[in-house]
């Protein structure tokens, strides 16, 4: 579905992604695990064209999208739920969700998706006329995911969806991700929290200082020493 092929990215002279190669098949849930500033967010931003790649290529649904602009990638169904939620704080919940469907040709017929999202996140339905800026971090995260779903994504990229959230909310979000996966959604999940990410995903890549240092199935990675040292320093 989505394929990073020897992607290199620079911020000025800083080389932040080195030869990143990764592939996610349709219907898979894949995790991208790494510490702060390891390059996860850059990888996702590059996928959406918010950051230009210096070399390499990016394929989505069989098409080379490296040179397409962000809105063209969004129109093809590549949707990012960004780090830190980034909801439209002055919009109500419903207005935020509608913005998610902005690029769709059938954007005036979104009641089905709206019902679906409200069904997934009953908390959002309770607050549908509330301004997003006045909601808690967990609710904003749900809103951001819901907004992503309104776009009818072919592939959903999630950037640290559980960062800074209370464990009970994290559980709730994980349950939702599980439901989405069960429905056959292709998901790339960037996470610092390796253990959580590995529970969700069937496969994972570990990224360190812009390099993919490890990849494999979740079971095999769970036992790996790298993962342990990355988090607890043992």
């Amino acid at each position: 579905m989505i394929e990073f092929d020897h992607v290199n990215v620079h911020y000025g002279k800083n080389h932040v992604l080195h030869d990143l190669t990764a592939k996610i098949e349709a219907g898979e849930v894949v995790a991208l695990i790494g510490a702060n500033a390891a390059g996860k967010t850059t990888a996702l931003r590059t996928a959406l064209g918010l950051k230009n790649l210096s070399s390499g290529s990016l394929r989505f649904a069989g098409e080379d999208v490296s040179s397409l602009s962000t809105h063209e990638r969004v129109e093809r169904g590549l949707i990012l739920v960004p780090e830190g939620r980034q909801v439209f704080v002055k919009f109500t919940v419903t207005e935020n969700l509608l913005m998610g469907a902005y690029h769709r040709k059938d954007r005036n017929k979104v009641q089905v998706e709206l019902d679906y999202v409200y069904d997934l996140f009953p908390r959002l339905l309770e607050r549908k006329s509330q301004k997003a800026g006045s909601m808690s971090g967990g609710e904003q995260q749900m809103l951001a995911i819901g907004r992503g779903l309104m776009a009818k994504p072919k592939c959903l990229l999630l950037d640290e969806p559980t960062m800074g959230l209370a464990p009970i909310i994290v559980q709730e979000i994980l349950t939702i991700l599980g439901k989405l996966a069960a429905n056959g959604m292709t998901i790339l999940l960037a996470e610092q929290n390796a253990s959580m990410a590995l529970d969700c995903a069937s496969r994972a890549y570990v990224i360190e200082s812009g390099h993919i240092s490890l990849e494999g199935s979740s079971e095999s990675l769970r036992e790996s020493a790298t993962i342990k040292s990355l988090y607890l320093g043992h």
Binding site: N36, A37, G164, L165, P167, L230, Y231
Partner: protein, 253 residues
């Protein structure tokens, strides 16, 4: 006690980022504060450094309350903070960064007499001291090789090290480091560790925050763990690491 905070709380509308945190730091200690992302660590440092004003609580430095003071006053009092993402003066060279950061040195040495140096090309002993200090800091932080490079061409590791170097030019008595190791490769982390140990050997007091436990676990004398803005554990690093609340906070169970 050199430094003490009690009941420190910071609320942003709707969100309590730091919640009733109290701890103290003794002269010469390295204190590690860790917690996962979003646990309030950076907010805590910003409160100490004066970039944010606490909602309630006290920050006491050498017996004086400093909460709510301006950042430059707090820096002048000897409490200096680095930034997690290096903040630099993009157009300037490494050495120029250090000379700017030497501002407080000149101020301490010369006081208002530094005005006179504006009319007189010779800054005298203080100017010499400043350059000598800059050279020493360059050596200490292993930046001698990039002395005359502009900030834009530095690697991420060098940028972060330059942040530490600038803080050192301020002659801090308490150095607050915001995730100094994040984003660094292993060899850079190793040399950072050596630099920080060096500083401790020179008698500096350090307070370091990090979301990773590994690097800080070896370095710190004492550790404090934050979760959702509140202190959940305090003790030696080994004690804190084996604390069940801490493990739960990290592994999300």
């Amino acid at each position: 006690m050199l430094f003490e905070i009690s009941g420190l709380t910071k609320r942003f509308d709707g969100l309590t980022a730091v919640s009733d945190v109290s701890f103290s730091i003794a002269q010469g200690d390295i204190v590690g504060i860790f917690g996962p992302n979003g646990s309030g660590k950076t907010t805590l440092l910003s409160l100490i450094a004066g970039m944010l004003t606490p909602s309630t609580g006290r920050i006491v430095w050498k017996g004086k309350e400093i909460q709510g003071h301006k950042p430059h006053d707090i820096a002048a009092a000897g409490v200096v903070k680095t930034f997690q993402n290096p903040q630099l003066f993009s157009e300037l060279t490494v050495f120029e960064h250090l000379m700017i950061a030497g501002h407080l040195m000149l101020k301490r040495r010369l006081g208002w007499r530094r005005i006179a140096t504006l009319f007189n090309t010779d800054t005298g002993q203080a100017g010499g001291d400043l350059e000598a200090r800059a050279r020493e800091v360059l050596r200490l932080c292993r930046l001698e090789g990039s002395r005359d490079q502009t900030a834009g061409v530095l690697s991420y590791g060098e940028e972060k090290m330059l942040g530490v170097a600038m803080a050192l030019m301020c002659e801090p008595q308490l150095l607050l480091l915001d995730e100094p190791a994040s984003g660094l490769g292993q060899s850079e982390i190793d040399s950072l560790e050596i630099v920080l140990r060096d500083l401790r050997a020179h008698g500096m007091t350090l307070c370091i925050i990090d979301h990773k436990v590994g690097f800080l676990g070896k370095l710190a004398d004492r550790a404090i763990s934050l979760h959702h803005g509140a202190k959940i554990a305090e003790g030696t690093p080994a004690e804190v690491l084996s604390n069940e609340h801490v493990i739960a906070a990290y592994l999300g169970r």
